[in-house]
């Protein structure tokens, strides 16, 4: 459901982009009022860019629309005249006195969205990021409090029935999450049945539900289409505490992998939290291998069931199982990371053809997409194309004008691009360290993930199960020094 529009700056596009934005917002699940708010913010920015960014010669304006399960993001980029929003504060008294309403549009933008970030990228132009949360009815507002208080107890001899997850099951999923985790489950969207139903209907996720034969929901597991590639994420899983250690998780994962193959996915990955090894153990049974360790991936959460990890932010292992292996991929592995990346590829049984190129000639400008999740205090930069200004662009992305605290920024470099190896040393000098391999992660291509930490975790809290995961952990600990 992501969309990318590139338009020529002209007054006539303002209405068209507003029409598109509104319809897109409604289609991805915003309420009519929130769709209007987001659209008004886009209208205000587009109007300012057309009028003041390109006052003489028209230029390009790009709009990137992205939706995930809990919010939508719209990024607008342009290469017009320099502009600093902070220099145009809106003051109503002054505006009325002077009939000069400078800053009014930006005042509306800030109010109409949940997050607004402006980035001056120097020669790379300007970038405006708008985030709007998707609101939906919370399970606590749908179900009487008594019904939510305690999970029903199934008879001792009850069996289990596994079925594909349907939109009408989503209220039961929300109840199950609540019974198991209270309000501590990280994926807020699961507490909103309508959001989950919408995601199912749009093919953004598919899942299974396990009930007792008497009908009580006891297990839920889903594959999410969270990346810009034909892979899935085993991203949401829960088994009622009273029904654990009965093989429900294995039964569900087995069924999901069958469905994923039927749907033609290239692979499945999971983000296994490292506060415990339960998820890693389940993943290992199904042929998943650890490919990356993402430190500080989520802020600390008080898990109802896992009190022992409550003091630490959460680091996760990326674990991947290929469903399609295909022909050998040409990769340019940075020398420093080649042995470990090769080891990971061998575990995955993904064939590669490593190559080396020196002094790669680059175009003038880089193309990097940035996605920041301020709730999770993390950002991800994905390199689409290296250019001469690559390091400068990375530096600018790390210093948004509007300051938001971050724990970590991940940087994904395409391994099939000969320029990747030549930038690793310079990125390390900027504080980036190894994270791992992200197989088929963007547009079906393999990426090297680096990470820049603003906070170093206590490695003793990071629990890993397999020798490969231990190797990743040790390598990264050594990189931190």
């Amino acid at each position: 459901m992501d969309a990318h529009l590139k338009l020529r700056s002209d007054l006539s596009i303002i209405g068209s982009i507003a029409d598109f934005s509104y319809k897109w917002s409604m289609n991805v699940g915003l309420t009519p009022m929130d769709a209007a708010r987001l659209t008004l913010a886009i209208d205000e920015l587009t109007t300012d860019i057309v009028r003041f960014g390109y006052p003489e010669e028209p230029g390009d304006i790009e709009f990137f629309f992205h939706k995930n399960l809990s919010h939508v993001e719209v990024t607008i980029t342009e290469l017009g005249e320099p502009f600093e929003p902070e220099r145009y504060p809106y003051d109503v008294e002054q505006a009325l006195a002077t009939n000069n309403f400078e800053g009014a549009g930006l005042e509306i933008v800030r109010h109409m969205v949940d997050d607004f970030v402006f980035i001056n990228k120097g020669r790379g132009g300007k970038e405006f990021r708008l985030t709007k949360n998707i609101s939906a009815t919370h399970i606590a507002d749908m179900v009487p409090a008594e019904e939510l208080k305690a999970a029903p107890v199934a008879p001792e001899d009850d069996g289990y029935v596994l079925t594909p997850l349907l939109p009408e099951d989503t209220e039961d999923v929300a109840k199950l999450i609540y019974w198991t985790y209270g309000y501590s489950y990280m994926k807020e969207a699961l507490y909103h049945p309508k959001q989950t139903a919408l995601a199912l209907e749009r093919g953004e996720k598919f899942g299974v539900l396990v009930r007792t034969t008497s009908g009580e929901p006891v297990g839920y597991f889903a594959v999410l289409r969270t990346t810009d590639s034909n892979i899935g994420e085993v991203g949401e899983a829960v088994v009622s505490p009273k029904h654990r250690k009965k093989g429900i998780m294995l039964m569900m994962l087995d069924a999901l992998l069958v469905t994923a193959r039927e749907r033609g996915l290239l692979g499945i990955f999971g983000e296994a939290v490292t506060g415990h090894t339960i998820s890693q153990r389940v993943n290992a049974k199904f042929g998943f291998y650890s490919t990356a360790l993402m430190l500080e991936a989520f802020p600390r959460v008080k898990y109802k069931m896992f009190k022992e990890i409550s003091d630490q932010d959460i680091s996760v292992l990326i674990e991947y199982v290929p469903l399609v292996r295909g022909l050998p991929q040409t990769v340019y592995l940075p020398e420093r990371y080649a042995p470990l990346l090769t080891t990971i590829y061998k575990h995955l049984e993904l064939p590669i053809e490593p190559r080396t190129v020196f002094n790669q000639t680059l175009p003038q400008t880089s193309k990097i997409t940035a996605r920041f999740n301020y709730e999770f205090m993390q950002g991800t930069l994905v390199v689409k194309r290296f250019g001469e200004d690559f390091l400068e662009q990375v530096e600018l992305q790390l210093q948004p004008e509007s300051e938001r605290p971050l724990n970590v920024v991940y940087l994904d470099l395409p391994l099939d691009d000969p320029a990747t190896p030549q930038f690793v040393d310079a990125l390390r000098a900027k504080g980036f360290i190894f994270s791992g391999l992200m197989p088929r992660f963007h547009h079906e291509r393999d990426y090297l993930r680096l990470q820049k930490l603003y906070k170093v975790p206590d490695f003793s809290w990071i629990k890993v199960l397999t020798p490969l995961a231990a190797q990743l952990k040790a390598f990264i600990a050594e990189e931190i020094g």
Partner: protein, 97 residues
Amino acid sequence: MNVKRKGNRLRVRLVRDLNLLAAHRIQQLAADAEDIRINIRGAKFVDSEALIRIYQLLQAGKRVRLDYPPPILEETVHVLGLAEALDLDTLIGKRRK
């Protein structure tokens, strides 16, 4: 944009948003009008450029009414602190059901 004139009265019906272009056009049409009524049932919003131009029309002594405005209008006006300057209660004519 559907436009009707009678004497010093101007009636406009918009099928799209009341944005910069629409407001600019209305401002031109309103040059010799005193009583301006704009039906914006088809609008999703009224943006800041349009509100500023409406304010300018009011400042010029013209009577302006917005019929069937979108629900977001009042929020937008309050964000800009213009409820009093635009005399919001008078500005809004017929409301959407």
